[in-house]
């Protein structure tokens, strides 16, 4: 492994609204920021073969995922005019209605903040080695497939 500092992305279980509020509040000291863009992924209660999804259980290839998140982070800072960025992804069980992905980008102007947020979310969905297992009421499951 190289010596670059890798920020912690994975957190155990759902991401709470109060954690998101804390993250936002911390940026009030960064007074050159004019625009924040936030993406939140929430677990849906899809019905598959007549059974309702109660939760998603996430697993990851942690070591590779942390590298990938770091690379996405570096590229985002190179490609966009960006002041701050934070990524949090759940591992383990997240119930439907709860939040499992939190991407937070901040820039001087709105265009940068919004474009880079969308860029990061798309790369995470496509490239992060994370797998979701959709668990039904009876604890049976299927492996989730992301829509492109």
């Amino acid at each position: 492994m190289s010596e670059k500092k890798i920020k912690k992305v994975f957190i155990e279980g759902a991401i709470s609204p109060s954690c998101i509020a804390d993250s936002i509040a911390k940026h009030s000291t960064k007074k050159d920021i004019g625009a924040h863009s936030i993406f939140l992924g929430q677990v849906r209660n899809d019905v598959i073969n007549d059974k309702e999804v109660k939760a998603i259980e996430y697993t990851a290839y942690n070591e590779m995922a942390e590298e990938k998140f770091h690379e996405i982070r570096e590229t985002a800072f190179e490609k966009y005019s960006l002041t701050c960025m934070h990524i949090y992804h759940s591992l383990g069980r997240v119930n439907s209605g709860e939040i499992s992905l939190f991407v937070f980008t901040s820039s001087k102007h709105r265009k940068d903040a919004m474009e880079v947020c969308s860029y990061i979310v798309n790369r995470i969905k496509e490239e992060a080695p994370v797998w979701g297992k959709e668990i039904f009421e009876d604890e049976s499951y299927i492996w989730k497939q992301n829509t492109p």
Binding site: Y61, M64, E67, I124, P129, V130, W131, G132, Q145
Partner: protein
């Protein structure tokens, strides 16, 4: 020559284990054939192979001490 195999998602369901060691396999194509013989369901699966954290394209030579990961399509977020 030993390598570590990691299996994720539905692949770990099929193989029944998420981490094990194999010996004396020269490259990723040989590994795929070996695994598909042991676990025929893998033949119809779409999965990527990462060697030491990097996703491989085409056949890739394996050396002692490498870590090989078997990864079905990602579904995070």
């Amino acid at each position: 020559m030993k390598m570590k195999i990691l299996a994720f998602g539905i692949i770990a369901d099929i193989t029944g284990k998420s981490e094990w060691t194999i010996e004396n396999i020269q490259h990723t194509d040989e590994l795929k054939k070996h695994l598909e013989n042991l676990f025929p369901r893998l033949k119809n699966m779409k999965y990527a192979i990462a060697v030491n954290l990097l996703i491989t394209n085409g056949n890739f030579e394996l050396t002692d001490g490498t870590t090989v990961a078997l990864m079905p399509p990602f579904s995070g977020g």
